[in-house]
Amino acid sequence: MTTTPQAVRRQSPPTAPAFPRSGPAAPMLPSPEPVRLLDEAGNRLPSDYPEPPAETLRELYRRMVVGRRFDLQSTALTKQGRLAVYPSARGQEACQIAGVMAVRPTDWVFPTYRESMALVARGIDPVEALTLLRGDWHCGYDPAARRTAPQCTPLATQTVHAAGLAYGEAYQGRDTVALVFIGDGATSEGDFHEGVNFAAVFRAPVVFFIQNNRYAISVPLSRQTAAPSLAYKGIGYGVASEQVDGNDPVAVLAVLTRAVEQARAGNGPFLVEAHTYRVEPHTNADDASRYRSMDEVEAWLGRDPIARLEAYLRGAGRLDDDAVEAVRTEAEAYADDLRARMSAEPVVDPLSLFDHVYATPTPQLLEQREQVRAELAAEGGEA
């Protein structure tokens, strides 16, 4: 019961204006069409959004290529039985990578099971990122050190955590932004509503980033909402919002960058919907042929975000064959290294099960631990 060492500079939770409020409703609506900076062939389109610097776009390209290779490798690892399950983000590279590039290392990211690619793009060791899916432990990286919450499976629950984290950080005088990844399906959960609303009421610096990949497992978006766009939800919370072409990496980064700036500037949370597509089945265990046609998938494969950025950068003279080849080589090396390291079967100490249920095990847990220890000893000294 000591005081916290760090200086606590508390901010007054702002109060909303008096009611009835004739509000500036229309300005809170997102653009009527998803924001695009590149067309499908990679040509630059006019936009109010400033284009990120060339160096940043090259880095975006690099991480997307590595990210996709990581993703393919992970899918391959499931086939070899090295992973219990893998939810691929193939086709969503623009969102996965631009998402983490839009924030600082000191910001917090709240990923779901879908965001393994985003995790490695954030610099987390891929083996640590895959610990959950390999079945060793629920979270393989140090969330506090990486300022990255453990991947969240109970859908939409992380939105509220992000609101609380962002508020708590601001309350303590830090300018941290929280970036939450969430799927289209998860927006139907009550926790999404509560998370966005808490962030709005407390003006917490959160960016809610919806990757609308058009499916929640087998369920199409039409079963999640009757709204014109998920971004139209923002206005109901007094939250600024935007919709963006999720397969246009430049647009995603531009829109998220502005959203993060807005949030950091104290303008409250921001909601971004990216229209994209889940190219792979929900996970390797899913059979997508039951609920969608290959034609649909093919059409979206034609909207490849990597090809689009590559075409743009090449066209703009910012990427050449050598650079592309260098990135490809890096990606292969990354995958080789991952494959090699994942072939080792880690030993997980059964008695570690009792270590972190509480800060200190209860007497009851110590009893159970002793029982397990004795069993293991009887089985032949495994413990």
Partner: protein, 334 residues
């Protein structure tokens, strides 16, 4: 007789219920085209149409609350929660409405809803996919709680649940979905509140249910080598509870071990142990022991075997039933 998996038996029960009773509707997440992540609703949408088997928005409180409203309109909703831990968002709807609707309205309204929950572990699932959540439901008056351990019971109990006038939380042991057995469906079985002796024995009674029944049977078989003749009681329905069968068995054998996969502390096994010692005190040669999951969050796949009650742990408990104290144990402080 054909060889059928529990998954297929459940599917057949839903199909037959849809065919027999127009009021039955099946909905939830991915139950339509996909046929459910475990394929329990496979083919139902094709056969009965989008109106009788459909996907909903991804929101469990919504699904259960929607079912309450549909029940008020005279329908018989059968809803699927995709996994045990994903029923928790619906907890308020289940405890404050589904369980209480009849009571609150003195029978004026009722909620004959079946909430199907694939539960428990043993399938190498990642976190939140393997909870044994039965204790939450059995402690909530107004709910019936059912869990089949055999293919035939899966069919018969699900039909009974759908026909029942009360809400039923129907817990499906995931790891038994693809276990198969000879079964001639449709089949009927004793209704709710009737346990069954799956294996007769004279020396001690293993009381269990759901996913743990096959483990207990295996332990009983293995126990034979150690010289124990173990009886196995499968509860089938946790609410209502069959005191008669359990009490009769334990009075006969004089010893009892309760086996469950859920964490032990304040689990269903605690209730069983408490009831058995209340009712069979003078027949007991040893305390009622419990073999249960550890009091920890469900572990990751690589460690679930440490958590789950297995044959050895059950036989260890049987061995602790004070066989040498027999026949006349004293009241000594231990």
């Amino acid at each position: 007789m054909a060889t059928v998996t529990m998954a297929k038996a459940l599917n057949a029960a839903l199909r037959d219920a849809l065919a027999t009773d127009e009021r039955v509707v099946v909905f939830g997440e991915d139950v339509g085209r996909l046929g459910g992540v475990f394929r329990i609703t496979d083919g139902l949408q094709t056969e009965f149409g989008e109106q009788r088997c459909f996907d909903t928005p991804l929101a469990e409180a919504g699904i259960v609350g929607f079912a309450v409203g549909m029940a008020m309109s005279g329908l018989r909703p059968v809803v699927e929660m995709q996994f045990d831990a994903f029923a928790y968002p619906a907890f308020e709807q289940i405890t404050s409405h589904v369980a209480k609707l009849r009571n609150r309205t003195r029978g004026g309204l009722s909620a004959p809803i079946v909430i199907r929950v694939p539960y428990a572990g043993g399938i190498g699932g990642v976190e939140h996919h393997c909870d044994s959540s039965e204790a939450y439901y059995v402690h909530t008056p107004g709910l019936k709680v059912v869990t089949p351990a055999t293919v035939e019971d899966a069919y018969a109990l699900l039909r009974a649940a759908i026909a029942d006038p009360d809400p039923v939380v129907f817990l499906e042991p995931k790891k038994l979905y693809f276990a198969s057995a000879e079964a001639a469906l449709p089949v009927t079985a004793p209704g709710f509140g009737r346990a069954v002796v799956r294996r007769p024995g004279r020396d001690a009674t293993l009381v269990t249910y759901g996913a743990s029944v096959p483990v207990a049977l295996e332990a009983a078989e293995a126990g034979r080598d150690e010289g124990w003749d173990l009886e196995v009681v499968d509860l089938r329905t946790l609410v209502p509870f069959d005191d008669e069968t359990v009490t009769a068995s334990v009075r006969r054998t004089g010893r009892c071990v309760v086996v469950q996969e859920a964490s032990g502390f304040a689990g269903v096994g605690a209730e069983i142990a408490a009831r058995v010692q209340e009712r069979c005190f003078h027949s007991l040669h040893a305390p009622v022991l419990r073999v249960a999951g550890l009091d920890i969050p469900y572990p990751p796949p690589k460690l679930e075997h440490v958590h789950l009650p297995g044959v050895d742990r059950i036989l260890d408990a049987v061995a602790r039933l004070q066989w040498d104290d027999q026949p006349d144990p004293k009241w000594v402080a231990a």
